[in-house]
């Protein structure tokens, strides 16, 4: 069914990583897949394989472009992984942005945030800034590893709204890892659960 293939935004075919059954998965444009599972079940390793950060078997397609068809850094520019703990290596916020920052207000920052010193940022501020940094690169696929773990409830709502509107506006897709079942209910159209080395659909309709 070629029509269906062309529509798919992110497709995993027999993706193999150690201690996990091969994963087959399709996410349609504008959709978000929620991913849950115990710590150590392989959620992060799965995201790393999709971003091509670790060796793996099988194939991943984003907008019908196979992972190994493009250079690794081009792939990661499209398929961007947001790690659970963000890293900062220069002194000020703006030095970490390769493009004009967008959506600063949507996450509750003023324009002056770009001049902030990294050493003065709290862990929650860094987490929100790392989401801005990711989105300013305009990725097509967002791999979000517990993106709201350090945030208070009002900022959690801001991040959820921003990601939702980004996905629908750009027809992008996301995989959202979280331990909070109600959050995954709010943000995702389909949900998967990782346990005992197998990825299972949750409440498939």
């Amino acid at each position: 069914m070629p029509d269906l293939c062309c529509k798919a935004m992110l497709r995993l075919e027999e993706l193999k990583i150690p201690n996990l059954e091969p994963v087959n998965l399709t996410i349609e444009p504008g959709e978000c897949m929620g991913l849950s599972g115990e710590s150590g079940s392989g959620k992060t390793r799965l995201l790393r394989a999709i971003a091509d950060m670790d060796e793996h078997g099988g194939q991943v397609y984003a907008e019908n472009i196979a992972q190994d068809q493009v250079k690794a850094h081009e792939w990661r520019h499209r398929v961007m992984l947001l790690p659970a703990e963000s890293q900062w290596w220069f002194d000020t916020v703006d030095q970490h942005f390769s493009a004009q920052a967008k959506y600063t207000e949507a996450l509750g920052f003023g324009q002056e945030v770009m001049r902030w010193n990294i050493s003065r940022c709290s862990s929650g501020e860094k987490q929100r800034l790392s989401i801005l940094r990711m989105l300013s690169n305009c990725p097509r696929v967002l791999l979000l590893d517990e993106p709201t773990a350090n945030l208070d409830s009002s900022n959690i709502a801001r991040v959820e709204d921003l990601i939702r509107s980004y996905l629908s506006k750009h027809h992008a897709v996301a995989i959202w890892v979280s331990h909070d079942a109600s959050q995954l209910e709010r943000v995702s159209q389909q949900q998967c659960h990782l346990s005992d080395g197998e990825l299972k659909q949750v409440g498939a309709a």
């Binding site: 091509d52 950060m53 850094h73 790690p83």
Partner: protein, 269 residues
């Protein structure tokens, strides 16, 4: 006016050794814990230098290419091992040795060769009085530069592996993700020789020049040689550090621009 070289006799050296013995004695008395290492180092320097003196005397009188090349080989092998021994994180065996030896070869060896043939125009080019000390000086400095640059690169990259991976995740190229660390490592490898050049003659009199003056050369002649050596040593060290950093960075990432310390380092357990 030509001054004769004053020859040192065994009693002269004995007198100097008394100073070291006095130092060892004082160290032991104050319980500073340097007695043992100092004794070993003093004995080592005496035995090693006497042996080298004997060997060089034979080689100088023979001036055979095969002899000189085998000495060169021994010097380079020892230098390559020394570089590896000074690394905090151990590189995978033969690969690490190969990288050190290769960069020593293309810097120290080739530059010595160039200097002998084009600048000094020794006849034959392998005249041991020129070849051996020149290579020795280049090897010693290059070895330091490589050891420092390599250690800084691998240590920093290891400590900042999360940062490097974060930069890769943001779509940066592997060379971009490690750029600042590479720059830093280059500086670390070059600092000793840059300091030596800046301080030469003002803060310190370089060893070779001092030796030549002590042996009766006119100071200006000694200075000319020293400038030659400084330039050779600087370019040798620079090229060697660049080569080593490039080779290690290439090995640190795989074809899919992933950080791969498992390719680079021996498993630590």
């Amino acid at each position: 006016m030509k001054t004769e070289l004053i020859l040192l006799t065994a009693p002269d050296l004995m007198l100097a050794s008394m100073l070291v013995l006095a130092l060892i004695g004082l160290g032991v008395r104050l319980g500073l814990g340097v007695g043992r290492t100092l004794t070993i180092a003093a004995v080592r320097t005496t035995v090693q230098l006497l042996l080298v003196g004997l060997i060089l005397e034979t080689v100088f009188s023979q001036a055979k290419l095969t002899w000189i090349m085998s000495i060169v080989l021994v010097m380079m092998t020892v230098a390559a091992w020394e570089i590896l021994a000074r690394q905090k994180r151990k590189l995978k065996g033969w690969w690490g040795f190969g990288v050190s030896a290769f960069s020593l070869f293309i810097s120290s060896f080739l530059i010595t060769l160039l200097a002998l043939i084009i600048v000094i125009k020794a006849d034959p080019w392998y005249t041991p009085q020129y070849a051996i000390p020149l290579l020795g000086m280049l090897l010693g400095n290059t070895m330091n530069g490589i050891a420092l640059g390599m250690d800084r690169l691998i240590q920093t990259a290891w400590q900042q592996r999360a940062v490097i991976e974060q930069r890769l995740m943001l779509g940066q190229k592997d060379t971009e993700a490690i750029r600042e660390i590479a720059r830093d490592s280059m500086r670390a490898g070059m600092i000793p020789i840059i300091n030596a050049m800046a301080a030469a003659g003002v803060v310190s009199l370089p060893g070779m020049m001092t030796g030549q003056i002590l042996a009766g050369s006119p100071p200006v002649e000694a200075v000319k040689y020293q400038i030659l050596i400084m330039f050779l040593v600087t370019s040798g060290t620079g090229f060697a550090v660049i080569t080593v950093l490039q080779l290690i960075i290439r090995r640190m990432f795989d074809s899919r621009e992933r950080l791969r310390f498992d390719h680079l380092l021996r498993e630590s357990r």
